[in-house]
């Protein structure tokens, strides 16, 4: 479309001018191509971010837009850092991120390592394993509620069938000590394929001649694994951990649908606290401050991690 207009304009204009229109300078074209994206991001991401920063210094409440807005300075930030519940939520998030990443990395790497053996039909089974991660965490997470139902749920039934624990006492979602695990299990089920796929790329990037050389040097399989396979796949593993870490830090969908933060607040991760403060208690200013703190935390951690990642890559 665009080039046709340019052509028509060019045809209609006298020769010297035509050259000018036909040949928009490369610099002009670059900005013409890039600026719409930048403008959209400024409008939908950056402007709201600055608005949130402004709100974080006020006592604004979105459900009372006509009330006088008071400037509180850093009082919201102060209150958040003193708030016991916020720290508990951060701790819940940390536990959640730690266990999901640990399980997903261990299982994901093992699976990738096994698939790398290239047994017959590995391509088909790999694709099958990848299916859960493409699905909607909300829609599938919601269905896991059914699998977790005591007695009638498939998960509870299988566990009680295998372990002999009476099916009525497997209360995955309402038991205080089991509820966090119910989320960790679904998240691991869903995202292990993701880690696996990245690890697989790492394993496949190791050139075969290195193994051949190790074989010549009579290095044992064990030794080859620890001195070749693992170190060379490490940047990929770290990349997977980085992506999963950021995603799980933001985790909302699955928790909201599986437990909604309950029972009590045992599974209340940061995003759930934020939602409760912002859209249930309508403490807009306060929750904006919390949102800014979360954003800075993710951004800072990701930056540090990327630097570490680059160091590993250079080695």
């Amino acid at each position: 479309m665009l080039n046709r207009t340019a052509e028509n304009v060019a045809r209609a204009t006298p020769e010297p001018l035509a050259r000018k229109v036909r040949g928009i300078s490369d610099k002009g074209l670059a900005w013409l191509f890039i600026s719409p994206t930048i403008l959209l991001l400024l409008a939908i991401n950056i402007f709201p971010l600055f608005w949130a920063i402004y709100l974080s210094f006020t006592n604004f409440r979105a459900n009372r837009p006509n009330e006088v807005v008071k400037n509180l300075g850093f009082a919201n930030y102060q209150r958040i850092l003193d708030d016991q519940d916020i720290w508990i939520a951060m701790q819940t998030t940390a536990h959640f991120v730690f266990w999901t990443i640990l399980l997903q990395t261990l299982i994901g790497f093992t699976l990738a390592w096994l698939i790398d053996r290239k047994f017959r039909g590995h391509a088909f089974w790999t694709t099958l394993i990848l299916v859960p991660m493409m699905l909607s965490p909300a829609v599938v997470g919601n269905f896991w509620r059914f699998l977790y139902e005591p007695q009638i749920g498939l998960f509870s039934y299988v566990i009680s069938f295998v372990s002999g624990i009476p099916p009525t006492s497997i209360q995955m979602l309402s038991n205080v000590s089991l509820a966090p695990w119910s989320i960790i299990i679904v998240d691991t089920w869903m995202w292990t394929p993701y880690v696996m796929l990245i690890c697989l790329a790492g394993l496949r990037s190791i050139p075969e001649y290195i193994y051949e050389a190790a074989e010549v040097d009579r290095a044992s399989n064990w030794r080859q694994f620890w001195s070749i396979t693992l170190p060379m796949a490490l940047p990929f593993i770290m990349l997977a951990v980085l992506f999963r870490g950021i995603e799980n830090f933001k985790m909302f969908d699955m928790v909201n649908l599986l437990t909604g933060g309950g029972p009590g607040s045992t599974t209340e991760v940061a995003s759930i606290t934020l939602k409760r403060q912002a859209f249930e208690s309508w403490r807009t200013g306060y929750s904006s401050a919390f949102a800014i703190i979360l954003f800075v935390a993710v951004f800072g951690l990701a930056n540090i991690y990327v630097k570490a990642l680059n160091k590993v890559k250079q080695r």
């Binding site: 394993i129 919601n142 269905f143 990245i198």
Partner: protein, 316 residues
């Protein structure tokens, strides 16, 4: 001796291959069980779905699908008998439970919302993304790395944190609960993925093609249109599918910013309830219909998957 010992990755022995294959197949089968269970539940009757022990063999029924697409009211048997003969299978099934169909449910409009918003935002994100990616790939843009990082950094924000000011902004602009608002928002989220992925794809197209075209008298724009775009088709298609999947699956923004007319399927499906709690066959039916397109896309995409999920950081 070295012929019989396992060669780790160089040449895995037949035995280690067989064990690896067995473990992978076992994992794949177990991990697929929840999905098969969703599919099976969608064809159960409500009593079958909550039977103890869970029923593996059952009489298939489309009652779940009937319940998904309709709303029903309970009536007395006398009233139901006074009605004419049932007009279809769903009508008949529902009457057996002493109910009559009162009208269509909200599932279809929510599903259509999902389609409109997903396709609309994907189109916009891919359009903007292709232009920007070409710009970043071919021209010396000042601060290019910073701009690219800025584009990516918008992904670090927790959706709920973004939703607070967006909620206020949309309320002011009258965009709350509108398809346009959701399309704009998803476009902004997806454009970062689109730029990063497409830049990778366009980087791989040799510049010589355009240069040859420009020597032949094409302008830069014509060269972009006639030589780069056709070569980037695979990349653009893969990017579009990734954007589509994100917008299709998205829940947090949809749950917080839409409530009625523009609500998409993900926040709607968990709210499907029957008498005395969640109507699991209907939920399973909605989930099945919702998941099938994604299954198809996953199979189409399997070669590009790695690239898509790592923002183009890892290429095969």
């Amino acid at each position: 001796m070295s012929l019989t010992t396992a060669h780790s990755v160089v040449a895995p022995s037949a035995g280690s291959k067989r064990i690896a294959g067995a473990i992978i197949i076992a994992y794949a089968l177990i991990s697929i069980v929840p999905l098969l269970w969703i599919f099976a539940t969608s064809f159960k009757t409500p009593p079958d779905s909550i039977a103890y022990p869970p029923k593996i063999v059952f009489q298939p029924s489309i009652e779940g699908y009937c319940n998904l697409f309709t709303t029903r009211t309970r009536q007395t048997p006398e009233y139901i008998n006074s009605l004419g003969p049932a007009t279809g299978f769903c009508d008949e099934t529902v009457r057996k439970r002493n109910m009559v169909i009162a009208g269509p449910s909200n599932f279809l409009p929510r599903f259509i919302n999902s389609l409109v918003i997903a396709f609309g935002s994907t189109f916009c994100a891919v359009f903007l993304g292709t232009l920007s990616a070409y710009g970043f790939s071919r021209f010396k843009v000042p601060l290019a790395d910073d701009l690219l990082f800025f584009i990516l950094s918008t992904r670090f924000m927790p959706p709920i944190a973004v939703a607070i000011p967006i909620y206020l902004m949309y309320r002011e602009l009258g965009l709350s609960d509108t398809a346009l608002g959701m399309i704009l928002l998803y476009t902004a989220v997806n454009v970062s993925l689109a730029v990063w992925l497409l830049k990778g794809f366009i980087d791989e197209i040799p510049r010589e093609y355009e240069e040859a075209a420009m020597i032949d008298g094409y302008t830069r724009l014509q060269a972009f249109w006639r030589t780069v775009l056709p070569q980037a088709t695979t990349g653009i298609a893969a990017t579009a599918i990734f954007c589509l999947i994100f917008a299709w699956n998205e829940y947090a923004f949809a749950a917080l910013l839409t409530s009625g007319t523009a609500q998409t399927a993900p926040p709607f499906i968990p709210t499907i309830i029957g008498e005395g709690g969640q109507d699991w066959p209907a939920v399973a039916a909605g989930t099945t219909i919702f998941l099938v397109p994604i299954l198809v896309f996953t199979i189409l995409l399997r070669k590009q998957l790695l690239r898509g999920i790592t923002f183009g950081a890892v290429r095969k």
